[in-house]
């Protein structure tokens, strides 16, 4: 009996253990059925702080765009347009004075921030004081350094009535509104009550805007949760909730999507895309992305002072090959510095076609029949160095011996922003904006590093003049022609090496509907629904 008793106890224990294991190991889908109306997005990195005035980077704006709005906004509900149209946001209309110096905004009535604070001219003034007015007690220096591309044009702000404000610029700039909606510090409206309650620094932990989604919680490194704003003034979001999950490892992102733990992932690994499509997942790309991947050449180096050498480098790189073999279906060769997401983009523009023989001949004419050695600085990113190795191989074919020097991202950013040292011949970045004025940031004589982002010291006064003229040209068609002419001049000088457009691939579960991949780095999630 005693033995039997032991056996009975043992068998009970085993049964209990199996029951516990079965409870733990159960089909994943049963728990997930509760998730209707919730979109879970696997992102390639953790985002920065959620204060739109004091942060930069497209990953962060993918969240803040849902919470905050500006006076004007880009309409991101259309994917098949060359550039996102500027539409009324928290201003119902605006008027630009004939001299281009004064912007008068009529504010949208009946709008409240998520905390109930009414949106009015006083709130607009408060926001401008926060990121621009050094004399204000609410001035936030960190915000000022981020929103500088927008605020450096501002001369003053006045409240005309409770629902109207006028902003005066120091000089005309017809790209000013669009410049405010780009990827480094956005002048979106934050709740004055929240800033006063939590302080300038504290707003990032308690982000309060007027957008279609409102902030619920953030667990650093785990998730950020937003929920639908039921009082939104415009088209209300379809989703109940959005959960943003940082999944840094590309394989983990793919696995999580395959296993149904997230509904969409950005930056999927190129090699996995076709397999995911075959498994029924949807690939979304944007034909008109607002950025390009390009190389800077160090024009202070003797070898690159010769335009024939710069042209040879441009002709030696097989852009089609890179797009086809590395980017698979998610890249396109790029031949100019204007990104496809700007209204000035010319898709028919071809600066230099792939021609290694002609490139070699040009090098010989320039006095380098046997090529030369060059250092190419590159950042450490998740995609490895496939493109850079390809470029290294292509340049080797015309005799240029490229040494790749790889740096961790922060170190690289410092070296890139500081301008190339004398020993460095090339570096790279993927950047751009939906305003064509962006090429002035990277290619004007007065934006040379270290006080600007012209890391390779390119300078052509004629280009500067064209870009300056374009800014003060109110007619969009005339401005577009000026930007295109500047772009042609820059590429005629071969001051840069445009390589490829990354078409912003997003992999979606078949359960996701209504997702639009617009000509911008961030998306409007109010149109999205999940089965």
């Amino acid at each position: 009996m005693k033995r039997m008793g032991h056996r009975t106890a043992g068998s009970l224990l085993i049964r209990a253990a199996i029951a516990a294991a079965l409870a733990v190991i159960q089909p994943v889908s049963t728990l997930r059925a509760q998730a209707a109306g919730t979109l879970i997005w696997g992102m390639p990195s953790e985002t920065d702080i959620l204060d739109p005035h004091a942060t930069g980077g497209w990953t962060t704006y993918q969240i803040t765009y849902q919470i905050f709005e500006g006076l004007a906004k880009e309409d991101l509900t259309k994917g098949d347009v060359p550039t996102p149209p500027l539409v009324p946001g928290l201003a119902t209309a605006w008027e630009i004075s004939p001299d281009g110096l004064q912007y008068t905004f009529k504010l949208r009535p009946g709008v409240s921030f998520h905390d109930g604070t009414p949106f009015d001219a006083a709130a607009v003034k408060f926001n401008f004081e926060r990121f621009w007015d050094k004399s204000s007690p609410d001035f936030y220096p960190k915000a000022a350094s981020f929103v500088v591309a927008y605020t450096k044009w501002i001369k003053g702000i006045e409240v005309l009535d409770p629902m109207a404000v006028r902003i005066t610029l120091t000089a005309p700039n017809y790209q000013w509104l669009r410049q405010g909606l780009q990827s480094y510090g956005q002048p979106l409206m934050v709740s004055p009550t929240a800033v006063k309650k939590y302080g300038n620094e504290g707003l990032a932990l308690h982000p309060v805007g007027t957008g279609p989604f409102r902030f619920v919680e953030r667990q650093q490194g785990v998730r950020t949760v937003l929920e639908r704003n039921p009082d939104y003034w415009g088209q209300k979001a379809k989703l109940d909730r959005v959960i943003f999950r940082p999944l840094q490892d590309p394989a983990t992102r793919i696995n999580a999507l395959s296993n149904g733990e997230v509904h969409m992932i950005s930056t999927p690994p190129w090699d996995e895309i076709q397999g995911m499509i075959d498994d029924g997942f949807k690939l979304s790309t944007s034909p008109n992305v607002p950025y390009i991947n390009y190389l800077y050449l160090n024009l202070k180096q003797d070898v690159f002072k010769d335009v024939r050498v710069r042209r040879a480098v441009n002709m030696a790189i097989d852009r089609e090959g890179i797009s086809r073999e590395i980017y698979k279906k998610t890249g396109r060769p790029e031949f100019g510095l204007l990104s496809p997401g700007t209204d000035a983009y010319d898709p028919s523009f071809r600066s230099y076609k792939y021609d290694p023989d002609a490139a070699k001949k040009l090098l010989a004419e320039a006095g380098y029949p046997n090529g030369f050695k060059v250092v190419f600085e590159i950042p450490q990113v998740g995609t490895g160095e496939l493109v850079e190795s390809w470029i290294q191989r292509d340049l080797k074919k015309i005799g240029i011996d490229v040494e790749l020097r790889k740096f961790e991202w922060v170190t690289y950013m410092g070296r890139w922003a500081g301008g190339m040292g004398q020993d460095v011949g090339m570096n790279e970045i993927g950047w751009g904006m939906s305003t064509p004025a962006w090429i002035g940031i990277v290619a004007r004589c007065d934006t040379m590093a270290p006080d600007g982002q012209n890391s390779g010291y390119y300078c052509n006064k004629e280009v500067d003049a064209l870009l300056s003229q374009a800014l003060v040209t109110p007619d969009p068609a005339a401005a577009k022609a000026l930007y295109q002419k500047a772009n042609r001049l820059i590429l005629d000088d071969a001051g840069y090496v445009p390589v490829v457009d990354d078409l912003q691939p997003v992999m979606l579960s078949p359960k996701v509907h209504g997702f639009v991949n617009p000509p911008e780095d961030w998306f409007d999630l109010s149109t999205v629904s999940v089965d």
């Binding site: 733990v24 919730t38 980077g57 981020f146 667990q219 650093q220 490892d249 394989a251 296993n259 922060v410």
Partner: protein, 316 residues
């Protein structure tokens, strides 16, 4: 025993000070500027200088270190430069997540290691011994990130039994059961390597103890197998086993970092990675110190257990 404990705890202080100095210096010697990250590429040098002043980064490194030590002595770990959050609120939840993963992994490694090691020793030179020895050699040589991906492929993507990422189902209600489901694959991935090492050490220690003369004498005197094993073999074999188990904690913490990446487990490792790339010195400093403290404390605990088992250690 009290004196022994006091001596070991006193030795803790220079270790922690040393670790903190090394990390502080490394963070300052590393190229790259936190203000470039914080202010973005369009900031001017004047903006960067002003921010460095605000953050106190323009002061000499020894002064910065002294200020940090003074704050820590008052229980204030400072504020994260990158996230503006108090460091303690960032580190504590992540530390608990890592501690949970490390504890379950250690428990599994001990269960497998002690059981398989003892079995292999008792069935010395049998087929079972050879299978266990070979299998543990294979496991010990397997990189955890590869093992993790293989487990994911089989148990998550093929069988759909277990989740592949995170600590909880993001759309679910959470709870202990949900955490347990998410814990299975990272725990197995983290534990198998250390389990293999422990198995081999247990096997050799038990074999060594079994060959000692007093065991042969006890067996000749007719002592029962159970009593012989417990009193004369296992108790004598335990000190080196305990020491290697304690040392495995370091390996487990390292292995947990790999598992955190592969399984998106929100632990200290991923926080450290983010903080290093953001040059967030206060977070890096506090996190490393916590890991060092944990490692040293566990080894003190092992020393105490060993001293209790073998009184000669107390005297030495």
């Amino acid at each position: 025993m009290r004196g022994f404990l006091v001596r070991r705890l006193a030795a803790l202080v220079p270790v922690l000070v040393g670790v903190s100095i090394v990390i502080f210096l490394l963070m300052h010697l590393a190229p790259g500027d936190v203000t470039t990250v914080l202010l973005g590429p369009q900031a001017t040098e004047a903006d960067r200088v002003a921010l460095r002043r605000t953050l106190g980064l323009d002061r000499p490194v020894p002064v910065q270190y002294a200020r940090w030590v003074a704050r820590v002595a008052e229980g204030d770990l400072g504020t994260s430069i990158a996230t503006s959050r108090p460091v303690a609120t960032l580190i504590l939840p992540r530390f608990l997540n890592t501690a949970l993963l490390t504890a379950t992994s250690l428990a599994l490694a001990v269960m497998i290691g002690y059981g398989a090691g003892l079995l292999a020793a008792l069935r010395h030179r049998s087929v079972l011994d050879r299978v266990l020895t070979g299998f543990t050699l294979l496991l010990g040589s397997t990189p955890p990130f590869w093992l993790g991906l293989v487990l994911v492929l089989f148990f998550a993507l093929r069988l759909h039994w277990l989740p592949v990422s995170g600590m909880t189902d993001m759309a679910g209600e959470g709870g202990a059961l949900d955490v347990a489901r998410h814990l299975v694959l990272p725990t197995v991935t983290t534990a198998l390597g250390p389990a293999a090492i422990i198995t081999r050490l247990v096997r050799s220690s038990v074999l060594e103890a079994m060959g000692r003369p007093h065991v042969r004498v006890a067996r000749a005197k007719g002592l029962g197998r159970g009593a012989l094993l417990w009193r004369h073999v296992i108790l004598n074999a335990l000190p080196p086993i305990m020491t290697i188990t304690g040392l495995q904690l370091g390996y487990l913490l390292g292995g947990a970092l790999f598992s955190e990446v592969v399984f998106a487990w929100p632990g200290l490792g991923s926080l450290l990675y983010d903080s290093i790339t953001a040059r967030d010195t206060p977070v890096v400093q506090a996190a490393t110190l916590l890991i060092a403290l944990l490692f040293v404390m566990v080894n003190i605990l092992v020393d105490l257990v060993n001293a209790a088992l073998d009184p000669r250690l107390k005297e030495s």
